[in-house]
């Protein structure tokens, strides 16, 4: 029997503690142990970005991250993007306005990467596209997605 490992996380703003098998991926901790099924598993090899979450503020493919190596870290999943009041994140609102969602499978990962891109204050469209290149979408052709990110960036510039 494998030895269990304790993992303390600040998960979507809440302090949580988990005991997990040593080989558990952050993706499975999020989905199975925390019950946050917004994060999706696509390729399971870090190539599609569907499982992207923020780890200490930076986007990572959670299928390649060992949960045990995250002890003490801050994790934000797609469920944690909205404000505590339920007000959607500027990226989420922009996705609705621009029609950036089709089948929706990639959307949680795209929204998380998108939030990180907006937080970084990237103004150059080519750089936004480069930063989003790890999130594959087979429906939208990316145009509406990139438009949403541009809108969300402008919205947060307006607030700043």
């Amino acid at each position: 029997m494998a030895e269990g490992v304790r993992v303390r996380l600040r998960l979507n703003g809440e302090d949580r503690e988990f005991w997990v098998p040593p080989g558990r991926r952050l993706l499975d901790l999020v989905r199975e142990d925390a019950g946050l099924t917004g994060t999706k598993e696509g390729c399971g090899a870090g190539e599609c970005g569907a499982c992207t979450v923020l780890l200490n503020g930076r986007p990572v493919t959670s299928c390649l991250v060992l949960a045990a190596s995250c002890d003490g870290a801050e994790v934000v999943t797609v469920e944690g993007l909205a404000a505590a009041t339920g007000e959607p994140h500027p990226v989420q609102r922009a996705f609705v306005e621009a029609g950036g969602v089709q089948c929706g499978f990639c959307t949680p990962g795209v929204a998380v990467s998108g939030a990180a891109i907006v937080a970084r204050g990237v103004r150059d469209a080519a750089e936004r596209a480069r930063l989003l290149s790890g999130n594959l979408c087979r429906c939208t052709g990316y145009l509406a997605v990139l438009e949403a990110l541009e809108r969300a960036g402008e919205a947060s510039d307006g607030e700043a």
Partner: protein, 289 residues
């Protein structure tokens, strides 16, 4: 699905990490895990025990008398964004920004990219042209290995199983008066992002005020069992003006000294041609500028 391991150990400093590796034969060190997790899942690697190198304080970039020291756990994203790396070792910054895509770059580490020793490792050619050295630690003490001597074959290095990479040292670069440095990393693949290089080239040329090549360093990836310097092409260029004839001779020398193979990503002949094109483009850029 959980990875098939039985134990994950989380040492708090480098000394404890190497002691754990020595005490658990067969244990593998893991940093970002972006490559190792895939290999463990696909059964290409197996380990009972992993030793997590994430909590050892090995992330960060510092300037010292010996040059710029990049901690082994520093991520690609940090390296690509660092102003000192971008100014002094631009090929390394460019390579770091082309490893996988952004969510990989935020997790993958410099030490991991080197320890995996893929012939296609993007950070290797820039380190080879920088004459970088790796600082390693084991229970037997620490040692320094030139990047050029670190790689032993595909997936193999001179690192002992119970040894870890502490940092990579980039010796200071000095530019003479009226000399201009040109440096670039370029890779070829089916897509610009998120691909494993079919061919990569890191190149540095310092042009003197009289137009001759004062300093030249070329290194290639994915065209030999290990990333390596292209010494014969360098010899052709050393001290010469970059005329059309010299450029053609250098490209021909490069093609001759490569030893690419056919694999799933490209046939050998394509790698040879693509490497030649990358060098030709770089030389044209330098000659034109």
């Amino acid at each position: 699905m959980d990875l098939p391991i039985r134990r994950l150990l989380r040492p708090r400093d480098p000394q404890e990490a190497v002691e754990l590796l020595a005490r658990h034969p067969g244990a593998l060190p893991v940093a970002g895990g972006t490559d190792l997790v895939v290999q463990l899942r696909r059964g290409k690697l197996a380990a009972d025990t992993l030793v997590d190198l994430g909590g050892l304080g090995l992330a960060g970039i510092a300037e010292g008398a010996e040059g710029l020291e990049i901690g082994a756990a520093t991520t690609m994203d940090t390296i690509a964004a660092d102003a000192r790396v971008r100014a002094g070792w631009p090929a390394l910054a460019q390579a770091a920004s082309q490893v996988g895509a952004w969510p990989i770059q935020c997790r993958a580490t410099l030490g991991g990219n080197l320890a995996n020793a893929s012939p296609a490792a993007d950070t290797a050619p820039p380190l080879l042209i920088a004459d970088a050295r790796l600082r390693l630690l084991s229970c037997r003490g620490s040692r320094t290995v030139p990047a050029a001597e670190f790689f032993a074959g595909p997936g193999r290095t001179v690192r002992a199983p119970d040894e870890i990479i502490l940092s990579v040292l980039l010796p200071p670069r000095r530019l003479g008066p009226h000399a201009t440095a040109h440096e670039r990393f370029a890779k070829v693949g089916p897509r610009r992002e998120q691909i494993i290089s079919v061919v990569s080239l890191a190149a540095r040329i310092v042009v003197q005020s009289d137009g001759s090549v004062g300093e030249v360093a070329l290194a290639v990836g994915s065209v030999a069992p290990t990333p390596r310097r292209a010494r014969r092409a360098e010899e052709v260029l050393e001290g010469c003006r970059l005329t059309g004839a010299v450029r053609r001779e250098a490209v021909a020398a490069l093609e001759e000294e490569l030893a690419p193979i056919d694999d799933v990503r490209a046939p050998a002949w394509y790698r040879r041609v693509a490497a030649a094109v990358l060098l030709d483009r770089f030389l044209a850029e330098v000659a034109g500028g």
